[in-house]
């Protein structure tokens, strides 16, 4: 009898798994501007928590903090095409990057992290980044070597 009940539970589970459900709640509180900019300019590919799509869109959850605490890494975060070529103003991009560091990183944000400013973004943004993948790999290797040396 007990086994029979288990079968029914199994059937119910199979039957109830019809459609893939996405959340449908209608929010009543506006999201902060930096988060709204993330949603509209980045989230399409980087998805809601920044983890991306394996093999297609790199995760930024483990890398954004190491980038954000070195000058070369900060330059990369501003110059990466999705950031530098977005339609956001320098000020909005600076706020968006700060929001991403504080909200999407899987690593804790160290106290030495300073927010981006519009002037800093403007200084990096006008110069295109040519070898995105190579630059990213090189900076990550540098950051790893830094951590190992500490």
């Amino acid at each position: 009898m007990k086994r029979g009940a288990a079968c029914w539970v199994g059937l119910v589970l199979v039957c109830s798994r019809g459609a893939t459900h996405l959340s449908a709640a209608q929010p009543s509180v506006p999201v902060p501007p930096a988060q709204a900019n993330y949603m509209l300019n980045c989230m399409g590919c980087h998805i809601v928590d920044g983890s991306g799509a394996p093999g297609k869109v790199p995760s930024l959850r483990d890398t954004i903090v190491p980038f954000a605490v070195s000058p070369a890494g900060r330059r990369y975060l501003v110059q990466v095409p999705g950031a530098s070529q977005s339609s956001l103003s320098d000020q909005a991009l600076a706020q968006l990057l700060g929001w991403m560091v504080r909200n999407l990183s899987a690593r804790s944000v160290p106290p030495e992290f300073v927010d981006f400013t519009a002037a800093e973004v403007a200084g990096y943004r006008r110069y295109p980044l040519i070898n995105v993948r190579e630059t990213r790999a090189r900076l990550l290797a540098l950051a790893a070597a830094d951590r190992a040396g500490q």
């Binding site: 079968c7 459609a19 893939t20 459900h21 449908a24 506006p30 999201v31 509209l40 399409g44 297609k56």
Partner: protein, 174 residues
């Protein structure tokens, strides 16, 4: 490759075939089909369909099966509401792509702009019903971050076959 779920289901099915008579099985199945329909099975589903998110209500006016529905302002594709799904769920047999196209749409009921995520449903060939191509604020392909002419199913785990598009509210812009 041996699938553990296949194995489990086979064990359960064989076990049931041994223990349950045919009449009891049919009786039980009918009770499940007709009785189960009366009760929403998962509390999650009930929570999600709670007002005011229900399309057609005062807060969310319009018909999700029509291209003119306010959430469809920047959509490009077949409406999942016409394909066995809804504005926020994929039809059975398809899977939502996590990688997606987003925009804001103006809700005429409260005059506010909502952030809408047009998650594509992937894994089956094109639905073919209710093509809707409004593309408001869509940019050409050479502005890649603001162009919706991509097959977002390329980012899904079930392959690039595109079936239909949802229009899910994920935030209030202002």
């Amino acid at each position: 490759m041996h699938n553990p779920i296949d194995g489990l289901m086979e064990r359960l099915a064989r076990d049931m075939a041994r223990r349950v008579s045919r009449r009891r099985f049919i009786g039980g199945l009918c009770a499940l089909l007709f009785g189960g329909g009366a009760v929403p099975l998962l509390p999650v589903a009930r929570g999600e369909s709670a007002p005011p998110a229900r399309p057609g209500s005062a807060a969310d006016p319009g018909d999700p099966r029509s291209c003119e529905y306010w959430r469809h302002c920047a959509i490009d594709g077949f409406l999942c509401s016409c394909c066995g799904g809804s504005a926020h769920s994929c039809p059975p047999g398809t899977e939502a792509s996590a990688v997606t196209w987003l925009g804001t749409c103006h809700n005429p009921a409260d005059g506010r702009d909502y952030i809408v995520s047009y998650n594509d449903c992937c894994g089956k060939s094109e639905c073919g019903r209710c093509l809707c191509n409004r593309n408001e604020d869509d940019k050409p392909l050479y502005v890649p971050s603001r162009s919706n002419d991509y097959n977002w199913c390329a980012g899904s785990q079930v392959g690039i076959a595109y079936h239909c598009s949802t229009a899910r509210i994920i935030g209030l812009a202002k």
